[in-house]
Amino acid sequence: MFDFIRGPLLWVAFIVFFGGLVFQLLQFFTLTRKKERLFLSVHGKTKGRWSIESMRQWFESLLTTIIGTHPMMTILTLIFHCCLFVTPIFLLAHNILLDESWGISIWSFSESTTDILTVVLLVCGALFLLRRIFVRRVRAITTAFDYLILFITVAPFLSGYMAYHQWFHYKAILFAHILAGEVMLIVAPFTKLGHMLFFFLYRFLIGSEYSFGQGTRSW
């Protein structure tokens, strides 16, 4: 069973993850073939892209986003998402496995650094959970699926932390860790976690008043 989850099932997870992302990307471009020119933009435009005036306007426009209205939540989500991507990619243990399997060697953080990043991510995850439970307006739109998605996201990190510190039964925790990571990869392209891709598509490519880019695509 252990060989299965760290062998064929891992391949299935990667294929579903990358295949799912490509599928979603193709669907998006098919559905948004229509182009429309949008002249409205909250991001002011002045002469000289790097002039002090244009940078001042750009900074002011940022304050109209959640950076201005929810600074704490902005910092929390930024840290959470950075840790979510950086930690598993630059984790020494993962890269040793990668090196042993394919001979690919990439730079890694020290084990103590990834340990701290994991704790930071878990704290952020716990704060999201508390926010969901105790903040009235978040609770009003929360479903059981939101808790499940949060658990799916955090589980690989929690189990990874437990495995690294050899809490409980090491092999069972390692089993759970690999399985949790695979489940996250498999569900990511087809659930709310798909915002990892669609955030960029919506905010940069779709023509909108709040677009970050020069998006002209339309549904």
Binding site: L31, R137, A140, I141, D146, S208, S211
Partner: protein
Amino acid sequence: MAEHGEKPIDRERIKTFLERNKGKMKRLLSHCVHCSICAESCFLYMGHDKDPRYMPSYKAINSLGKLYKKKGKVDRDFLERIKTMVWRDCVLCRRCYCPIGVDIPSMIALGRTICRSQGVYPNFDESDQKESWL
């Protein structure tokens, strides 16, 4: 309530609307992470003591979201319930700000289209004492 109170609901027509917009709407509904950050961008939310029922996401999830969840198999009572959300609690000013970029007004607009197709829309007759839209 509109004049067509007793007219049976044309579920096939509702399904046609839902199906036609499925590609976009299902994705938007799926990618809403229920963070509630859109709340402050709605003046109706701010003007009603921050009542969560006025949050843009709440209105979209509980109107169009439920229509998709029920696959259009709804009755008039259901449409009457969401009527308030899509007509009274939202003015489609398009000021709602979603950090992910979910186009919430388009969801409310589709909710309105579906309601209107079934004769469910507000009656602005001031002599009607049954409901106030102000």
